[in-house]
């Protein structure tokens, strides 16, 4: 009798890994909002990659003869105060925005996750130190922190990335620490210790993979936040510097013409809105589709 049960077990269990992945996909696919977010994001990524194909001209070259033209067949989204195509600048701007999002989130991930792991796993003095620094950083409104950092580091693409990224470090630390605190008490961590596994191995091989789900979800949401912050810096004129096309900067310079040429500020605004929306929808969808135990 045992043999038959075991045979059935093997047959059903052989398919369960595929099924688990399949379940994740079907759950995500059923979530219309998440799919919309994903498609939007895909559109942005393709746009960023194919920018030179989609817009062959130079998006930064001024043409004052065509200044502030409204949308037309030739210029679908009109032109800005220097006569540059807004469509072209939005297309090229997607490169900058995605790059900043990627860079900033990388800074947050690379510094925040290890610090969170150490803080949660070892506890004690290192935990205390890390948490007090985190508290201090979290006491600042996120955007204010980025603003202050830019003031110190100076303007530009790289510095915008770093300042926005640093603001994300404490958020990652808090998230990872919390997850580690619960995973650390699992029996399998004790079992790993009981066979002599070193702390470093336990931390990165046994604990980290178990906290990847919340990190993934958080990263998706953070990307949207990074785009918003970068655009905010650009709007204030301390982000990416002109003539590089950047959505926030475009919005900032279009502000002056909001009454006689509203399209100059409106379209970059829509681009920012949709990009942030795509990340948020996708993030929410991922959270629902991934293991329900790890709901944030």
């Amino acid at each position: 009798m045992t043999e038959t049960t075991q045979a059935t077990d093997t047959r059903t269990q052989g398919r369960s890994a595929d099924r688990r992945m399949g379940r994740f996909w079907s759950k995500l696919k059923r979530n219309k909002a998440a799919m919309l977010g994903g498609l939007l994001l895909l559109l942005y990524i393709v746009t960023a990659l194919l920018a030179p194909v989609l817009y062959p001209g130079n998006p930064s070259a001024p043409n004052l003869m065509k200044s502030l033209e409204p949308p037309s067949l030739k210029e679908p989204l009109g032109t800005d105060e220097l006569g540059r195509s807004i469509l072209g600048r939005i297309i090229y701007g997607s490169r900058v925005s995605l790059l900043i999002a990627l860079g900033a989130v990388s800074v947050g991930l690379l510094l925040g996750v290890p610090l969170g792991l150490v803080s949660g796993y070892y506890g004690g003095k290192s935990d205390f130190m890390i948490q007090r620094v985190t508290d201090t950083m979290l006491a600042f409104p996120g955007f204010l922190l980025a603003l202050a950092l830019v003031a110190v580091l100076g303007v530009g693409l790289k510095n915008a990335m770093i300042s926005v990224g640093i603001g994300m470090i404490p958020l990652y630390i808090r998230l990872v620490r919390g997850c580690v605190l619960s995973v650390r008490e699992e029996v399998y961590v004790e079992a790993a210790k009981a066979v002599g596994t070193r702390d470093r191995v336990i931390l990165f091989r046994h604990i980290l993979p178990n906290v990847m789900v919340p990190i993934t979800v958080q990263t998706s949401l953070m990307m949207g936040m990074a785009i918003l912050f970068a655009a905010g810096l650009g709007f204030l004129g301390i982000g990416v510097q002109p003539p590089t096309p950047e959505w926030g900067t475009m919005l900032g310079s279009g502000r002056a013409y909001i009454f006689n040429a509203p399209h100059v500020a409106t379209f970059p605004g829509i681009a920012i809105f949709l990009a942030v929306l795509s990340f948020n929808l996708l993030g929410d969808g991922l959270r629902d589709a991934l293991d329900p135990r790890f709901k944030l």
Partner: protein
């Protein structure tokens, strides 16, 4: 390297305390145990009597603080409590392994069975990835997991409880440990699987020439597996005896109570007699009773039981009892 005579593990005056906000909890309070080569020592007692803490203290798996471990734990002549962090890590999984109570949660869900076992092998033995993998498949075969090759590539969620416990046993034995600490290895399994796992452990113990410390509250398992038994109550040893003698002639009232509370199929009851029980509950570890710790529940208390802790009395057949009844008998 090591002398073949003499005990493999000698625990002397083990005291494990936990510093809590409410006060100091003496989980294990002055325990002396010896484990000989090739034997199975049963460690019995109610929940909270310090069985598991003893096992965790041996491997120093308790976070200190809040725990504080004192005494001597001599394994093959070395005091485990004197070793540095790296030293004790080399012992863990190498010379001494542990099997936990919960097979469902003691394997990491994100690593395959094979990864977890071969990782242990590579940690302790000088093995290449391929050698470790081969050995892992061998081990899985040894613990009678069908299709060990494909199983080693699977994640724990695909295995049933019994299979996972087999995998844990494979992992624990993979580095040929001299001592296996089995902390209620079958409590979470159903009875049929329990029997299978116990048979397997008994067989592998012979094959690997290992000693086992079997922690359980199931006296049936003790009767079947152990050669000697240590009965613990509230952090102290109350009785130690070879298994046959213990079941035949328990000396300590607590042991008598434990044995009396086991239902026996077919036992005749005259006139609706109820199964015997030990009245009361385990004392609060923060407020241990004065004198003998069992005195609030003991049916045979004497005045001295409330005043002084009973001495450990050595009896014939390598028996030890910590009870005033025996101590007084001796003085007479």
């Amino acid at each position: 390297m090591s002398e073949q005579s003499g005990p493999l593990l000698t625990i002397r005056g083990l005291r494990t305390r936990f510093h809590t906000y409410e006060g100091v909890v003496n989980a294990v309070d002055g325990l002396d145990i010896e484990v000989f080569r090739g034997e199975t020592l049963g460690l019995v007692g109610e929940s909270g009597c310090g069985k598991s803490v003893t096992a965790l203290s041996i491997l120093r798996l308790l976070p200190c603080p809040p725990a504080e471990i004192q005494g001597q734990i001599l394994f093959d002549g070395t005091n485990l409590l004197d070793l540095d962090r790296e030293g004790i890590r080399n012992i863990r999984g190498g010379d001494i392994s542990m099997i936990f109570q919960e097979p469902m949660t003691s394997l990491n869900p994100v690593l395959t069975i094979g990864e977890q076992i071969s990782e242990t092998l590579r940690r302790h033995k000088d093995m290449t990835r391929r050698e470790a993998w081969r050995r892992c498949v061998e081990m899985l075969q040894l613990v009678q997991i069908p299709g060990p090759k494909s199983r080693s590539r699977e994640y724990p969620h695909k295995l049933s409880g019994g299979m996972r416990q087999r995998a844990m046993i494979a992992m624990a034995l993979s580095c040929n440990p001299k001592l296996l600490l089995a902390d209620e290895p079958t409590t979470a399994l159903d009875v049929t699987i329990q029997a299978q796992i116990m048979t397997l452990m008994a067989r592998l113990k012979e094959e690997f020439e290992a000693s086992i410390v079997l922690i359980t509250h199931d006296l049936g398992i003790i009767a079947e597996m152990a050669s000697r038994v240590v009965v613990m109550y509230a952090g102290k040893m109350v009785e130690e005896a070879p298994v046959k003698e213990l079941f035949k002639d328990p000396r300590h009232p607590y042991t008598q109570g434990l044995l009396g509370s086991i239902p026996v199929i077919g036992r005749k009851f005259d006139g609706g007699q109820r199964l015997q029980e030990i009245p009361g509950i385990v004392p609060n570890p923060l407020e241990m009773p004065l004198g003998c710790r069992f005195n609030p529940r003991c049916p045979r208390t004497m005045p001295i039981c409330h005043q002084q802790e009973p001495p450990v009395v050595r009896l014939a057949d390598h028996r030890r009892v910590s009870c005033w009844l025996e101590a007084n008998k001796r003085d007479d």
